[in-house]
Amino acid sequence: MTETQAGKEAAPAASDISPVPAIELDGVVKEYQAHGEVVQAVKGVSLSIAEGEFFSMLGPSGCGKTTTMRMIAGFEDPTRGTVRLQGQDVTDVAPNKRDVNMVFQSYALFPHMNVWENVAFGLRRKRVPEQEIKRRVGEMLEIVDLTGREKRRPREMSGGQQQRVALARALVNNPRALLLDEPLGALDLKLRQAMQIELKRIQREVGITFVYVTHDQNEALTMSDRIAVMNDGLVEQLAGPREIYERPATKFVAGFIGTSNLLSGTAEEVGGGTAVIRMGDGDRVLVPVGDATVQGGAVEVTVRPEKIRISREEPAVGVSAVRGTVSEVVYLGTYNSYAVNLAGGTEFTVFEQNAHDSSITAERGDSVWLSWQPHHSYAIGS
């Protein structure tokens, strides 16, 4: 893939020069007319994706991921807003004139062509010399591990193989960016995990920007450099996987990524880096001061289940603690999961690692204390 690198500008090594983003969306809105009323599939998305980045769009079904991606590829015209590729406005450019390629969820292989012809299709359209087509298709089939299957028809191949053909067909063109719409959605779990590693390896090898659509949070968390969590046509949070998980910006993100416990309360005292949140039942917890914590404001405090310690004795001062009654204990092998009803009526989930011995700390019906370090919790405006 040396010509990929050569074809592009010499990548600036220093991070102080900000290079032109590979893909930019600026206030993009997409409306559909359906049964006489206007449906807003995408309600105003602005984001910029860096060269060589593995960028994911994650969100529940119908949140506008596919629509956003199709606007980048050029299959949908934005109702409002601008799409830029490498700094150039391509909002009105046809899909066959855009230097990005897409991998479709259904693979969309040409059923009447064999593997070789499928992969060579894009190069043929660009009138690449036959000799070079031979070489590049051969190389690409090697990368996706399909050498020797050139003469097969798509329907004579397994789902994973078809998936790799689709990938090769897009990648062989050396696009500036590769758009993948739930490319692993049709595969079983094992194959899916193998393909995730494979995709990540290929992306490193060819160094192309990947825009990856998925509704599988694990997939997004493990593969991406950055993730845009989408909901109802809007980006709720755009950050790296760790930040998305550790510091969800909204209630939706907290609930969508992993398991979260939520406590409603009011910010009572703010100062000294921490805020005291008073819950409805009078209990108080500490959280680090964030954007959402203003004096007297209503907030939601969220804590991940694995950050909580469950105990029968009252914990030491300096931690946040609440009381509750165990309503369910589930043994899950590497950890136990407790469901605990708090005095205020909220239900908390707590994970306890089976690290030392597999004895259970509390039984159903026991009164327990739940405690956590204040810096493991955070407040979200409600």
């Binding site: 590829a73 299959f75 899909p95 066959n96 897409m102 969820q105 969309a108 040409f110 067909r169």
Partner: protein, 288 residues
Amino acid sequence: MSGPISPALPARSEGAAGLAPSAGPPRRRRVRWGDRLLFGYTWLVLVWLFAPIAVMIAFGFNDTKSKSNVNWQGFTLKWWGRLGDYPELTNAVVNSITIALLATVITTVLGTLMGIALGRYRFRGQAVTNLVMFAAISSPELVMGASLLSLFVSLGVQTGYVTIMLAHVLFSVSFVAVTVRARVVGLDGSIEEAARDLGASTWITFWRVTFPMILPGVVSGALLAFALSIDDFVITQFTSGATVTFPLWIYGAVRIGVPPQVNILGTLIFAVGVVIAVVNTFTSRRRT
């Protein structure tokens, strides 16, 4: 990409004989009985279908002495040498074949375009188009023939070769459109998007991707159009004027006796049909 569900003809139907399930040992007796029944029934149907054709072929070799060719009088090949004995018959066959070929070409082009439009796009008048197509398929030939005749007469058009062809295009175009539409509706639209995405213009996308994928539908439609045209009698009768086609000639000859040449010509047309059908089955199995 969703169009209305079409009352489409199935593109290819599976042979009934291929449906017998293979069952485990415990149910073997019952399944065997079922197999035999199915086997016998299948052959009965085949014989029933092919008996008339066999008779037609056989009587092309009948050494008949009289004008009528209905009693078996011994085997001969002499009629094959005297195929051109009736110039009007030869002329009628030529008319039938050329009309069928022309009508098939026109019908296939028009019908394919209609099928794509109906299967792919939503447009004003789509429901009406579907309705008219369905009406054209289901309306009695007698009605269509009579109304075409009155149309041509009131327009002052001289009926003849051209009007026959137009009529044939008219009644077979719906069949082609319906067959192609079924194929188009079944297409995954993202395959064409993939072609566009890989740099193909709309024109190239159509010829390299869309057309090869709907080709089986187009071919079946074309064969159907040819078959409908070449043996049409009722509508042709109304729109023929002074032009005579093969079926019209036979009808005229029935009163004085149909000569064995007709059987031979029928056999030839049938043979060509069989060859085309076999080739089509063979190649479409590869294509899809």
